[in-house]
């Protein structure tokens, strides 16, 4: 990759300024939420634009963390996210690679088999009965298995595979490699950016998903973070939030529901937003060319 030193043009200045401005606009709600989560009712109810709290008060966090189950829920969400992501990514690769082969007989049939599942679903009742009949109620598998095959991801990844230079594979076949070896030795290494992207999507999906947890999980020790968070976000007031969370919260602090909601959001997104830099690591330019030469 030839990086030439060039003069900084007007375009560069505009571009950098643009992105800086955009970052500020985008950072604003996030920062505002952080500030709100560290405020109390007095300073929060001034409602205006607060860029810095009058004083940093951790009461909202104390309130949320006083919910006895929250650490367990955290752990469950992490387990679910890790296992679920590995599963989704594996299945996505396994389905996407064959579908990316234009000469695969009956390819269209298989593509349509996957596509139909993307558009039509039987809905909550038969899905619930199925999970029940499989004995998966109150099991982590109920959260992981039904979503393990994601057709959207498969299509995206298949499309990416299709853009890969055919020459690479053909030379491998000549060398006597089978399809599985080609997939693991050639395709996966040069598809790191898209695999990383799908992994990110899958992780965020599992992190945020609450509905399955709500209907399939009744055992408190298997509860996930988002069902707790959701109770808080849909609650009408603190008393209700408190009782929905199992009455663990102290109702004596001077908080607004908005303070607690803000803290809940910050707590619930913490770990997942930190993932991105790791994903970004795989966005390396010239990855294709590198493998060609290697």
């Amino acid at each position: 990759m030839a990086v030439k030193k060039r003069k900084i043009s007007l375009f560069d200045i505009l571009n950098v300024t643009g992105f800086t401005l955009f970052s500020i606009i985008v950072l604003y709600p996030f920062w505002q939420t952080v500030v709100l989560s560290f405020s109390d009712a007095e300073s929060a109810s001034s409602l205006g634009i607060n860029l810095w709290p009058d004083k940093w008060i951790p009461d909202a966090y104390t309130f949320v963390f006083s919910y006895q189950n929250i650490m367990v829920a955290y752990l469950n969400t992490i387990i679910r996210t890790v296992v679920g992501t590995v599963l989704i990514v594996s299945f996505t690769v396994l389905a996407a690679y064959p579908l990316s082969k234009k000469d695969l007989p009956y390819r269209n049939f298989f593509t349509i088999f996957f596509l139909i599942a993307m558009f039509f679903s039987g809905g909550m009742i038969p899905e619930f009965l199925l999970i029940k009949n499989l004995g998966l109620i109150d099991s982590r598998f109920a959260l992981i298995l039904p979503s393990a095959v994601n057709v959207f991801f498969i299509i995206i990844m298949r499309n990416y595979f299709m853009t890969i230079d055919k020459g690479l594979e053909e030379s491998a076949i000549v060398d006597g490699a089978n399809y599985f070896q080609i997939l693991t030795k050639i395709i996966i290494p040069i598809s790191k950016p898209v695999i990383a992207t799908v992994a990110l999507w899958a992780a965020v999906y599992h992190w945020n998903e609450w509905f399955h947890a709500l209907i399939y999980i009744q055992d408190d020790s298997l509860d996930v973070l988002q069902t707790v968070v959701r109770d808080m976000l849909v609650a009408m007031d603190l008393t209700q939030a408190n009782s929905q969370m199992g009455g663990g919260g102290s109702s004596n602090s001077d908080l607004l529901l908005s303070n607690v909601r803000a803290a809940t959001v910050i707590i619930s997104i913490g770990p997942i937003v930190l993932i991105y830099p790791f994903v970004q690591k795989y966005f390396v330019k010239g990855i294709m060319i590198g493998s060609l030469k290697g």
Binding site: F113, I155, N178
Partner: protein, 317 residues
Amino acid sequence: MQTVIERAVESKPKRKENINWVRMKKMKMLYFMMAIPMVMLFIFHYIPMYGILIAFKNFSPGLGIWDSPWNNFEHFKRLFSDFLFIRALQNTIVISLLKLIIVFPAPIIFAILLNEIKSEKFKKVSQSISYLPHFMSWVILSAMVIEVFSPQRGIINYVITFFGGEAINFMSDKGSFIPILILTDMWKELGWGAIIYLATITSIDPQLYEAAEIDGAGRFRKMIHVTLPSIMPMVIIMFILRLGAVLNAGFDQILNLYNPLVYEVADIIDTYVYRSGLEQFQFDYATAVGLFKNVIGIALILTANAIIRRKSEHGIW
């Protein structure tokens, strides 16, 4: 396995008439790969699919899905005799199309421009920041949006009144509500949406840029003639898939931002169904609404795919 392929390759010229069968044998490992995801999909998606029947029945939980009586498309007739539903359908289409036209291209432009940033550090930081709002819930964001557009304390009205104008209640104004929807949607999802394109851009062969440079192409021409065409297949796929969701115009966002004064333009199918309490015990009716949305979605996908296939090879199938 290796020998299998070799044998298959050898036998290929001998049985031209059965070429598919030969190829299938040759590629059987690919079918094995697909088998596990397909079985999973069959169990968790195809088996419960009989639930769609509910949309055509008077569902009675005591009878179950199979034995509930058919109702002669009563749910669909009811849907289309309700003029508020028709209005919601129109609003859904308008909002969704506007989002498709305005919001959909934004991450693409974002990704291409970000790619032009020279400082790797700046690039990484602004990208990491840009995707933060995706994680914020509309319950929280709506309060901030309403604050920014507030007639009393909002920054925009502050500017307007400072220059002697009259404060506008933007959130309750039919004219400004839809632009606010579009704008805030873009604001929230831009960075997140750009990730897939950034991933795709990294796989562009740098030789293409070098070749373009030799031809004397400037930066803009490289953006237009190298970067854009290289990510075009991904753009097309994203576009087609997005079309399929055209009747989902952003339930959470609208529910948290709208009010009765803007129902006329902002009430979409999902918010109307939600407000009507139709999802409560009325599975049959709610399923009919969902089915209607999906059928429209798949029809659009089929059409778009057919059109795109005629012009290029980048369709879904």
